[in-house]
Symmetry: D2
Subunit: 355 residues, 4 copies
């Protein structure tokens, strides 16, 4: 089996992904602090209980929080909780659940169908969603029944849905009776970019269930599912347990998540990686011929370029991901440096052809 991050690990600036980065020292420290005495297993510990309270404060409503191992687990279990096995789930044609998770959503839902919707910059277009849901054939016996919508925030091209844009999508979904999942692998980056409240961007905007990412932004081994819809919360616990995503030593997951939101660590980290991406954005304007696939609004950069330029970058020691012949992806890490950005800009300015 091949890895997807194929750039050879070298010493140069590393933009392969935010998940190649380190963990936040605050989170490592929280693990050490939690490591005393005994604690009830499987989420019965005080950290896991505090997690419910703390996240309910952050989201300004009673929510149910479930720590799970990965973003794929968070996404697939969330989608399965709102998509019956005869249901259809709608997502952007570049959505992570479709392109990068071995159809985990299809597996966990027992055969739910994923239907794609176009839209600019990785965002589901509300009108296209409306038409696609309508075309799916609600009530028609031969068709998987429309059940759910998946939004990725920030998107798979690095853009950020505004609160109004989220609302526009969820309104279409609700009108057709569908539930809405937000894949927030980079939710912190989106919130940091918008400066809005987490509640405004999710439950108040019509989101029923959220994958709350931590790994890419300073966590180690843990993301979370935040459930806003009470009916979903009632049954998802067994689906998560059965998926092998309830840790017996749950305190070590909850402690990570608590440290992650303590003193706004999550937003501070996100602001750092976002700022690095903006620094790149600014620098890029001075480079003639360079282009972007989408505006830089979070911590990801999707450069519209060519193989010759990508070769040149690699020769300069820049590590990144070649998505296609004309798309190179660079991700800024919370623990990245301005020097890395500047090295990237220099390499682009020097060696790039920008066909």
């Amino acid at each position: 089996m091949t890895q997807t991050q194929t750039t050879p690990p070298a010493a140069g600036p590393d933009f392969r992904s935010d998940n190649v980065g380190a963990a936040a020292p605050e989170i490592i420290a929280a693990l050490a602090r939690a490591n005393a005495d005994t604690a009830t297993g499987y989420g019965g510990d005080t950290w896991s209980q505090a997690l419910q309270t703390r996240f309910s404060e952050i989201f300004e409503a009673k929510v149910s929080v479930f720590a799970v191992a990965t973003g794929t687990a968070a996404n697939a279990l969330s989608m399965a909780a709102i998509t019956p096995s005869w249901g259809a789930a709608f997502c952007h044609e570049r959505a992570h659940i479709l392109t990068s998770e071995v159809n985990a959503a299809g597996f966990f839902s027992g055969g739910g169908l994923i239907v794609t919707v176009p839209g600019p910059h990785g965002k589901v277009d509300p009108a296209a969603l409306d038409a696609t849901i309508a075309a799916q054939g609600k009530g028609m016996m031969h068709r998987s029944q429309p059940a759910s919508v998946n939004l990725v925030q920030a998107t798979d091209l690095g853009a950020v849905y505004t609160v109004d844009e989220v609302r526009a999508v969820t309104e279409v979904a609700k009108r057709h009776g569908l539930k809405v999942h937000m894949d927030g692998a980079r939710f912190a980056n989106a919130v940091a970019h918008l400066g809005c409240s987490p509640a405004d961007l999710t439950s108040r905007a019509g989101v029923d269930i959220l994958s709350f990412g931590m790994t890419k932004n300073g966590g180690l081994l843990c993301d979370a599912i935040v459930v806003f819809d009470e009916a979903v919360a009632r049954t998802i616990a067994w689906q998560i347990r059965r998926a092998g995503h309830v840790w017996s030593k749950g305190r070590f997951a909850a402690a990570q998540l608590l440290a992650y939101v303590e003193d706004d660590l999550w937003l501070r980290n996100a602001r750092r990686s976002n700022a690095l991406a903006r620094r790149f954005d600014t620098g890029l304007r001075a480079i003639p011929g360079a282009g972007l696939w989408a505006p830089i609004e979070a911590n990801e950069i999707f450069l519209r370029t060519d193989p010759r330029t990508m070769d040149a970058l690699e020769r300069a020691g820049i590590r990144f991901v070649r998505r296609s012949a004309d798309m190179a992806r660079f991700v800024c890490r919370f623990d990245g440096t301005e020097a890395e950005i500047d090295a990237l800009l220099a390499a682009l300015a020097t060696g790039a052809s920008h066909g």
Copy 2:
């Protein structure tokens, strides 16, 4: 949803489970050490690569190791890898996959049937297994087809299969063409008890795939699947990825597992919890009327007792699990103390009726 560890968390000796215990400081330290520089994601890092080598040394053969979040994930993904959706899996009637995992094995295998086999002390009886497999109806069109056997080591009553006992079961399995999974949630305790080589107890004894437990014996958030059978290894990777059990920051999982086997930490920890259980065993002989459900061979104690005695223990501040009206479970932790054992013995000597 209710927790299963219902004893109220108090200050007394805590025998509710080994998973209520702390993490080994060596493993916490390893996490901190791994937290530098960037590392390729999804198992492409150097820790994950070293893990393959190190475990191949331990098991004296080329093995494939996959870190996963929990023992349930390790068990269910292992069983699914050797049980087709029309297959039957055979396990002891007290096996964890049957009693405590929300039928995760049935879910991941797409509907595989679990068939129970009796046997003393939680061990699958080879003759009973032979008869049960035969009765399942190999080749009969109406019956789920015999596919796999699950052994729990140490067993769900705290006993340990000897190498010969493992072999006796796997020989029956192989004769019928079935593959064998060992649920080694307490594999370290079994190896420590037997003083044998890990290879003798697994691949050389006919085991095809192993759940290698770490959490209960000093880990935080990670167990592993060790695959001995090459055909299984070829396809299980996608099943694990799709289950959301491949961490992007895989170094933090691999580093835990490497620290766990470094300088035999796993065996040293297991010897400590085993020794505590033996200390109890010795002390118990002085208490008239006390009985056990199975010999104490690892770190679990299944006391044959009565509700009045259990009430008395709880009043004495002892924390444990009531399994039934006549079964109380006590688990010794690697970070438990002799004082806890002595307190338990004293409470039993004083207040117990041992009906």
Copy 3:
């Protein structure tokens, strides 16, 4: 792959199953009658519409009827409609869904767990059911959640639940919040035996969904699912369609079912096979040493006997099924004859040892 009806096909009396019998001529005739003009596909035809009306009359309430190919399809789709993938379904330890359907219920429900309940003569014992549901651990995170109960009418030992007996089981189920499926592969035989109304034996007695068997009692290639619970009816249609059990030429299925209930054909046929079984029952009393596993109340006979007697019967040309060393099954067909019964009795009287 081996067949289960292993007795070599010969010319003698044939008690191997009611499914070895012919189709009712009335039903063949109905197929021929339906074979004119064009008809809307997939259940939009007038026969399929009439079926809804006709069955609603028979069951004295608005029901939804779905023709499916087999009893296994009817059972598995019914159970899946009332058992989520994290649910537990309770059935008798001899239930057909457990012993003879390759765990189709587990497959269609996406991994639902089947839990067995004892009881005399193949009937679920209400008190045992109560205890088994309670022991399954409602609300406990590690346990498949109690969801549904399966009753077989007539039972897998040939007995018939009275209306009160059905009620006693469904009352336990309802008290725990479970839904109830009746596997009515031999529903006609049960109704004929009891002389009650179909409604009294099902919806009025707490049954939510019924497998309405036709094949064993004169049909060709079609059984039905009758849904009493409206919430279930709303989603089961897609599950049936997706299972490949909605015929495009649905008129040929509906026409069979309409002919089956026309002029009480279903009850007339059932009375004939029941009467043959009763004739055997009467005759058996004259044979010393003979015993039964359950009272003969429908068209099946489960003889408590021995291998020597079974050998003798086979030598006499009697065709039947050896269930175990001490259980021989004989099924009376609607198209069977009194001569066949008498030949069986004679063979038993002559050659049997009845150990």
Copy 4:
């Protein structure tokens, strides 16, 4: 739930589908003939045995034949037999398994992903298939693994793959290590059109498993799966049984299929419906402005037209299916008439605008 054949059933020419047609009298007669004596159940009867022999003659190789209730069952079970739950199945973007079967293939395979391939006239384009398989990421851990290809013969636009065209697709599939399923819902029409041998069009052309349609061409309630690949044949039987698609009175399915191929009934029927479609094709040339979505090579006609024309046709009493604003589908039945064709042509000539 809504039906898809929405045109109100009236007295006019009926082109809604071939499945609105009657059954062949020869097949009804075969059912009546098979209705004598008892017969071993579940495919152990002499008809089912003869079916294996007869189809092995027709396909000039030892094949395994399984009668199933519907084409959806045949397709989904076939695809599931060659697609693991972590696999990707490739089909044309108009393929029936994608558009009209509630994702049954995804369900039966346990979450297999369906990936679409473009191509003219509903045919998978070999070069596009090659590129799409390559892009799916064989060996990449985040991607469903390429497993199978689905061809529809005749296609979902009514065209027919030649033997060479089938080969061109299967060669791409084989080069990538994929297995090939042919959805032969209208296989008879394709064979009749090409005048080739069934073997040349399937196993000799690289097809591993075939859905052999009968319902649309004169059957009642039965299609078949023909397995050419021995490894697939070894396990598919349990999957079919578990799907509820093995009839206990299997003789009534096998007898239909035997009658269907007796004296080339299947080809004679197909030639009749094909000829009706050709009659239309010829007539259409005289109508100015009329266009087709694909050449008429089997018994389906996909007219490129407009809503005004479709309204006019409906007013003229023509029954057909509106696929979209510019696509009207007309299917010729084996029991259709030249008068129906002529009425359709007349209605088109008179009222049509052919925008």
